[in-house]
């Protein structure tokens, strides 16, 4: 990310670099900077549903958000949801990668099948899991009922949260698995062998040699999974619970969409966008501080 290591041999032209930059420049100006600026401006404005009258309202939108019970609830929902998704997703894929690293035969088959969910769109993942858990046709719902569990994602918010977490973890496991597998394979064999000669068991080697060396990967995945849970699970939630029952699975991104396009509260939605931008920026900064540390390793 540092510009110091640039080329010594360069071409000279006054106009060509600008022509080369132009396509990307135009797109990011029109579709990134302009809208992001608009979101900032709108978050300080109040407008009616038809957009006919607009007036400045200072921090009113943010104060209203702060006082809005459902928004604070949505924060809690998002926090719970992302902790579950990141925690489960990372630990399950760590286990899978640990065993995949030991296996020599059949690894291509295992890997090809385990990475399949990456190719599945979040909405489609949502539909697939809804099909398993839907109260009327779902196979899992049927089995649960046999065991005496009244399964209903439309009424029970714990059930609804379980479903969206499972679907989101399922979709992300492929990604985590590939990074952990690459991590395991980049650990020098000599280190593991040395520990083994010293009499460390497989279990001890995992805790004292492999896991500490995987800390950077784990931290990186923690950030990526949090970002994923915050932003990319919109499709899963829209396909399964639509934020319900009530608002119990409405994470922040879902609420921005709902308030902006269904409830037509543009100012409130823009204020939420600004809060979200602040969250993404902090997460990205966190991620890059990690990258710097990795370089110094």
């Amino acid at each position: 990310m540092i510009l110091s290591s640039d080329k010594k041999v360069i071409f000279r032209s006054k106009w060509l670099p600008w022509v080369l930059i132009a396509p990307q420049g135009f797109i990011i100006l029109a579709f990134f900077f302009w809208p992001a600026g608009q979101a900032l401006v709108q978050s300080f404005q109040q407008s009616d549903a038809f957009g006919t009258s607009v007036q400045w309202s200072g921090l009113d939108n943010f104060v209203a958000l702060w006082r809005d019970e459902t928004y604070l609830e949505s924060f809690k929902t998002t926090a719970l949801f992302s902790v579950l998704v990141a925690g489960l997703g990372i630990s399950l894929s760590l286990v899978l990668a640990f065993f995949a690293d030991r296996v020599v035969r059949g690894i291509w088959l295992y890997r090809s099948l385990l990475i399949l969910p990456y190719a599945v769109a979040p909405v489609v993942a949502g539909v697939l899991w809804l099909f398993l858990f839907s109260p009327s046709v779902g196979l899992v719902a049927y089995v649960l009922e046999k065991f005496g569990v009244e399964w209903n994602i439309l009424l029970n918010s714990t059930h609804a949260m379980t479903l969206v977490v499972i679907a989101s973890v399922w979709k992300q496991i492929a990604y985590n698995f590939l990074f952990f597998l690459a991590g395991f394979q980049s650990i020098p064999k000599s280190l593991v062998e040395a520990a083994s000669i010293d009499g460390a068991s497989v279990w001890q080697r995992f805790w004292t040699v492999q896991l500490p060396l995987l800390t950077p990967t784990t931290f990186f995945l923690l950030v990526v999974n949090t970002v994923y849970a915050f932003f990319e699970t919109f499709g899963i939630i829209d396909a399964t619970t639509k934020g319900g029952p009530g608002k119990d699975t409405a994470i922040l991104v879902y609420k921005v969409y709902f308030d902006g396009f269904k409830a037509m509260d543009l100012g409130g939605s823009a204020a939420q966008s600004v809060v979200l931008m602040a969250i993404v920026i902090s997460l990205t900064v966190l991620q890059f501080r990690y990258v710097e540390r990795k370089v110094n390793y």
Binding site: W18, V95, F99, A121, V124, G235, V253, L266
Partner: protein, 283 residues
């Protein structure tokens, strides 16, 4: 491995097999579901082995005619919309990123650092956090319900620009030196030297971006208000929108399989580049 552990090897295979089965099960069940009639799917429990109606179901949805079809537009058309969108996003990103990375690495011009950081900062603003204002911009351009509206706002990509920049920095300076001495113009150097060298990076990015484009949902949800511009991922959603009992699960599952097929093929068949692309873009 370090020492032989027949027992542990057995456990490894057993656990991996179990993991794979759990992961693949929803996809398997979708495949099974797509081969049954609507009546079969109405029983409880639903069948877990293949039925007879695969041909009928896939024909029904692809052509968009027959019993149980609710949408006006055949799934074949939706797949076409998805394909055009995914390919435009993948190629568009690769082309504009190659050009801007070339400018940033091989030229010295005023505000070069500012341009670099301007592109960099877009990493921080995924479309999800700025949907309402971005929608307004696109609406002002009159791009609702068009391929331009579906693709152009998603094309700008800081990740691709970085990947190419990093790669260009590893290209030996002697190549540019030689090209200059032979009197090649910058664009000749780009076309005849840089582009052939970038083939692997381009392939890796293509896989990632194709999947990204094919699986877009939130953006088309805003952009496509007419069914003829629905990508397949969105089409599925509208098929499950009705009451639980009215959903034609056999047709939904057939559509889901068709929606998964192209990106799954790309991931499995281009596995080598896919893994490289994932790991490289995150560096």
């Amino acid at each position: 491995m370090v020492e032989r552990h027949p027992f542990l090897d057995l456990i490894s295979h057993a656990l991996l097999a179990l993991g794979v089965m759990v992961i693949v099960f929803p996809i398997y069940l979708a495949l099974v579901g797509s081969t049954h009639s609507a009546q079969d799917m109405a029983q409880s429990p639903i069948p877990i082995w293949f039925g007879q109606d695969a041909w009928l179901n896939y024909r029904t949805i692809l052509l968009g005619e027959g019993p149980g079809v609710t949408s006006q537009v055949p799934v074949a058309r939706m797949m076409w919309v998805s394909l055009v969108t995914a390919l435009s996003i993948a190629f568009g990103k690769i082309v504009i990123s190659l050009l801007s990375a070339f400018a940033i690495v091989y030229f010295n011009f005023p505000f070069r650092k500012a341009v670099f950081w301007g592109i960099f900062i877009t990493l921080m603003l995924p479309v999800e956090v700025r949907i309402v204002p971005t929608y307004q911009v696109v609406a002002d351009f009159g791009m609702i319900n068009s391929f331009a509206g579906l693709t152009i706002p998603l094309i700008a990509s800081a990740t691709a620009t970085f990947l190419f920049r990093q790669f260009f920095l590893t290209v030996p300076d002697e190549l540019a030196e030689a090209a200059k001495m032979d009197g090649a113009s910058p664009m000749q150097f780009f076309w005849d030297v840089l582009l052939p060298l970038s083939r692997t990076s381009i392939a890796a990015l293509f896989v990632i971006q194709f999947i990204y484009g094919w699986n877009q949902y939130l953006w088309p949800l805003l952009m496509s208000t007419e069914e003829r511009m629905y990508p397949i991922v969105m089409g599925i959603r509208s098929m499950t929108a009705g009451a639980d009992s009215q959903v034609q699960w056999n047709l939904v599952m057939a559509t889901a399989i068709l929606a998964m097929l192209p990106p799954a093929l790309v991931v499995v068949l281009m596995q080598k580049w896919f893994v490289k692309g994932l790991v490289d873009t995150e560096k």
